[in-house]
Symmetry: none
Subunit: 234 residues, 2 copies
């Protein structure tokens, strides 16, 4: 058993999270919900106020109450798994492997040569989708010296980041975060207008001294932001 205002809240929340009421959709007026649940207006109001607090709903006098536009947050301080993040937001994840090849490190590129070590690199490009809409573009190099089993994985089934988090332990990572304007290729891939601001996340991951993988992920700025919560360094 639970309280009435929580049931009303859950009722609305479920319709939003299930996609039944998409962003921008007008939810029933307070008096309609009063009739539907047979209760006082304060009770409906309390339920909706909680959803406003949670950022799921915005209210406008005279206009009504509307499902808020979603924004996805990710912690800066964890290595993000895009699939997990998409699914946390009750959106359906899928991905497309755009490119996969094995190659040697470019001789003049010190960073690549350090990553490759004594072996080859596996180079991948993929597109992450949320509800069949492009969510992020990813370019990745994996060191076959550090993760030889990557050679045998079908990355069109498991996204590379998800597989790596599971299969290859890491001890240290470095993020570089910047803003870029989408060029034509990125705009096409992400289905956004050229020149739209995007968040670029570059990450290098090590296991001990061994360089495991480098990745560049590009997110449309309107869809994604990073969150870091922390305390002063000792």
């Amino acid at each position: 058993m639970t309280t009435l205002n929580r049931r009303i809240r859950a009722h609305i929340e479920q319709r939003i999270l299930s996609g039944d009421w998409p962003p921008g959709h007008r939810i029933p007026f307070e008096h309609e919900l009063m009739a539907e649940f047979g209760c006082a207006r304060m009770t409906v109001n309390k339920a909706i106020a909680a959803l406003v607090d949670a950022g799921l709903i915005v209210r406008r006098r005279r206009g009504g109450s509307f499902v808020a536009e979603p924004r996805v947050h990710a912690p800066v301080l964890a290595v993000p798994d895009i699939r997990a993040e998409v699914e946390t937001r009750s959106r359906r994840y899928s991905h497309k492997l755009l490119m996969r090849r094995r190659r040697t490190a470019v001789a003049g590129n010190a960073v690549e040569r350090q990553l490759a070590g004594a072996a080859d690199l596996l180079e991948l490009e993929c597109l992450h989708m949320a509800d069949d809409r492009p969510f992020a573009f990813e370019e990745r190099q994996i060191s076959l010296a550090a993760a030889p089993s990557a050679e045998d994985v079908d990355f069109s089934v498991t996204p590379p980041g998800t597989w790596l988090l599971d299969a290859v332990p890491w001890t240290e990572a470095e993020h570089r975060i910047a803003a870029i304007n989408a060029d034509k290729r990125i705009a096409d891939l992400l289905d956004i207008k050229p020149h739209t601001a995007c968040l670029l996340v570059e990450r290098r991951t090590w296991r001990g001294e061994v360089d495991v993988t480098h990745v560049r992920q590009i997110f449309p700025g309107s869809d994604y932001d990073l969150i870091a919560r922390f305390t002063p360094k000792s």
Copy 2:
């Protein structure tokens, strides 16, 4: 002007944030606050419920309502000081104070009201320069409840972030990082083309439960990036 339940909330909050009512202290019963403010119980209840939500108060049936014990967190990152960063790169730092005013929190803005506490906000806008070229635009609100001495500082001499880092100890911060296209005003201020991708860094900083300052910093994407280096969380 503000609502009664917010005034009651502010009244209680101020006593907690000032240390007048330490953690574990029992706050007045609902019926006492009803008498003190001459209002209905629901109004008092709404005020206290918001403080429970904010984690400032815990309630026990029959026992009463008590000031909550503050949380503790593990250290991880650092709050950047733009002056220090510019100077680290061997560029000459300067800044311009564009706006300074004292005002009350916007009643409908819960985040601002939490920041303000029982006092006013100091609102600042400034432009950070590296070698006399614009480097970042900053909008900042400082809680005069948390940092009353900010009222007397000449921020055209010391940049607000630098002063705060020195003058006001903090225990917790939260970054939100996103990519945005520069609008006309930002483009003018930063001397870049409109629509250029910029990095938006929003930071909230607390001392214990007390909200100290909020800041929005906008950097041209081409000039700036953020680096975070870390190890897996325990």
